[in-house]
Amino acid sequence: MRLKNWQLPLALVLFMTGILLMSVLQVLHNQDETPAQEKNHNLVAMIKRQEKELNNLEKSIDTRRVSLDKYQKSLSSGQLETENLQYQLDQLKMLSGVSDVEGPGITVILDDNKKGYEVAKSKNPEANAQDYLIHDKHLLYIVYELRVGGAEAISINKQRITASSDIRCIGTMIQVNTKGLAPPYVINAIGDSSRMASVLENTDSQYNILKMAGYPVQIEKHDKVVIGSYKGSYQFSYAQPKEEQ
């Protein structure tokens, strides 16, 4: 192809213009990230980092507990008196939730009433989605109903419910043991299956109210339910054992 005298200079000009145009476009495109979005990104990164840290700490607590167990067992081996103490210790550990437990029990599965919300919305566009979600209070009541039914260990989405566990609403999630949980909520409970189920299915019970309201809820009875230990730690800043007089 024969080059005409105008082709190369024009190509050069267009080449430079192309570079300039692309650079400007990229700068303006990157600018789309407003300060608020940038802040959000930073916050998300921070939360993720802290969650990771939390996980690592929980793992280290776990390993410490295992090694502590070993020491205690090796100490108590062979001595009747200390064996008795060990038995008591094991009982207390189970009660406080720091050991994994298994046994017969039930699984309660709760989920948001999405279908109900869609139906309600088609009839009345002002229907409030809040009225069709599982809330922290529902979980709280059901945990208490399970305790009424004699549950010996309870967990929600693998979070062990201990004497100091908190169940509360944090925006769009429910937080248990400072862990955010999302639906569906799977509650495991070890205890007398039929007794717990009958308490839950009582007419006035929270479970029954949810069921009547059309939430997708169900109870499953199992011969063996495994409930993991509480991964956090207990800290007593105020309470201390009362000295014997």
Binding site: L12, L14, M16, L20
Partner: protein
Amino acid sequence: MWVPILGLVIGLLIGLVLNIPIPGIYAKYLSIAVLAGLDSAFGGVKSIFDEKFDAGILLTGFFTNTLLAALLAYLGDQLGVDLYLAAVFAFGVRLFQNLAMIRRELLARWSRKRRLAKAKVKGS
């Protein structure tokens, strides 16, 4: 015909790959420079049709226009005068004028060619 378009495509690609980091505050001046560059390019195309093309004029025009446009816009900002609007206006008007000229010229050439072809068909 294809060499300038190839130049443009390569330029776009290199700009995309290099990803030159430019602080956001200078983006505005760079936009003016881009406008000046486009103006030069279209001016060059127009001059080809006018058969007045001069590589020297095109190249010097491109560099001085882009640089001066950016500088003047910057100066205007320092003085508190929206001088960049003047640049946008000047380059914009000329861009569209040149575009219109190019379009008309192309159209005229095309219709002339067709008329010639028709005449040939009739003549044969």
